[in-house]
Subunit: 268 residues, 2 copies
Amino acid sequence: MAPPLQTSAFLSPGLGVHPSRQADLQRCLLCDQRDANLCSGLDKQGLAALAQSSKRLVLPPGTTMVEEGEPAVSFFNVTQGTVKLFKSLPDGRRQITGFADPGQFLGLSPSDVYSFGAETVDTVQVCRFQRPQLEGLLSDFPVFERNLLVAVTDRLAEAQEQMLLLGRKTAKEKVASFLLDRLQAHERAQATAAAHDHDEPAATTEHVASVPMTRIDIADYLGLTIETVSRTISALRREKIIANMENHYIQILAPATLRQIASGQQNG
Amino acid sequence: MAPPLQTSAFLSPGLGVHPSRQADLQRCLLCDQRDANLCSGLDKQGLAALAQSSKRLVLPPGTTMVEEGEPAVSFFNVTQGTVKLFKSLPDGRRQITGFADPGQFLGLSPSDVYSFGAETVDTVQVCRFQRPQLEGLLSDFPVFERNLLVAVTDRLAEAQEQMLLLGRKTAKEKVASFLLDRLQAHERAQATAAAHDHDEPAATTEHVASVPMTRIDIADYLGLTIETVSRTISALRREKIIANMENHYIQILAPATLRQIASGQQNG
DNA sequence: CGATAGATTGATACATTTCAAGTGAAGTGG
DNA sequence: CCACTTCACTTGAAATGTATCAATCTATCG
């Protein structure tokens, strides 16, 4: 099952890193997501190996990254933008199982074909790994494998939370939960950007949710129809719990209230 | 599929296993689940370490194994029976996120407190690990860590399938999918038992689903009410797709039809 | 044998879907 | 520069699948 690869030291630290690989390593060293999830805790040698084994891609909105049933040859780490993961029924009904924001991986599958599809929501940057090289990295760098284990565990916990939402929450509770998720996603993005700008983290007095996806995607994520999503968002706006902003952002006026709604302690 | 078994005599005295640990090692060597998931591919040293670090427990039906919010101190590997995992809302609404049948683990959590609850459905046998010892095992035995990574990945894929069910399937499709899951669970159990009996695998001409859980559990797993579950099962019985057996077993008369229903290609 | 828990069945209610129409913004071509 | 299309979204009215409320049945167990 797991080929126990030898940890051959193919890049002696400190000594001459292959010139043509310098650019690769730089890419990792300067990456926004360098200390996030998969890539955290790696020494220079590990980072160099990661850099060598991956390729950075920029993908326009609506790009299919993974198709259900196709051979699972690639593995991705998202560094910018949002990717939607989904499963479909033969008649076209679709369930979005999650959104992969910067710092998250995608592409693991229990078999040799993908068990899900993936498509970019907006413009997305990823690091792409090929399967065999990924397995080598896992074997060679225990920290990397541990990071992946932790990341998959996180995703599993998220999936369980989403099952609670899908199975037991009302439309209003679903939308409230979603907006809070997107608030958190935006806050994380802000924090990451601030850290790399060396700027002071601007005191977040405004609560803003990043919602780059369409109503169709939201509906397919929450197990609702687009009409119900639209109506529910309108209702929250009428109740002054949220407010419209530019294109793909929503302001959260009453986060505490929204949290109460999301956890089923208030019906508004 | 079949893991490469060690063919060596399983207790060569030369290897100096500590005498007081012999019983522990025997427990692992004779375990039904020895070659399943987490415990597969381990050499004798690894198996001995596993045996030493874990304790076998037998738990009666309805035992709380894990409570949401409590410190995540234990990790379990199920060797017999079925455990239900769930998340709840403050007002008591509950979603069962999965059933852990023999060979499956439970107890991983992204933080230091459990993000879910777990309770035995019937009489359950588990191997219990304490957190610190588990981490030691993961670090010491790469095969073990890889097994866990594979197992968590499997569970994540299952969770995604269940999200599709919860968000997009009708009551009838949900129940059909559930019965097929339970058919597979029973078939796996049969296969395991047969392998350890050294008996020929009895030609499975009858398709039987093992359903040890109550209607309440089924409803909380499928995002339905007990009434809807009951009505739907009755409808399938009326249509001669399934038939009643003793207490907690259901016979599948038309597996192909059930599969079509489960995947949304037929409404019956 | 009565008590209790699990399961079934029926009648009604309701949350969400479905069907339908309409709005507004962005892009296109004459 | 302005009709015209398109796409995402919103809103309304009617339909429906599942939930809720309620009664009954069955099996197990003290």
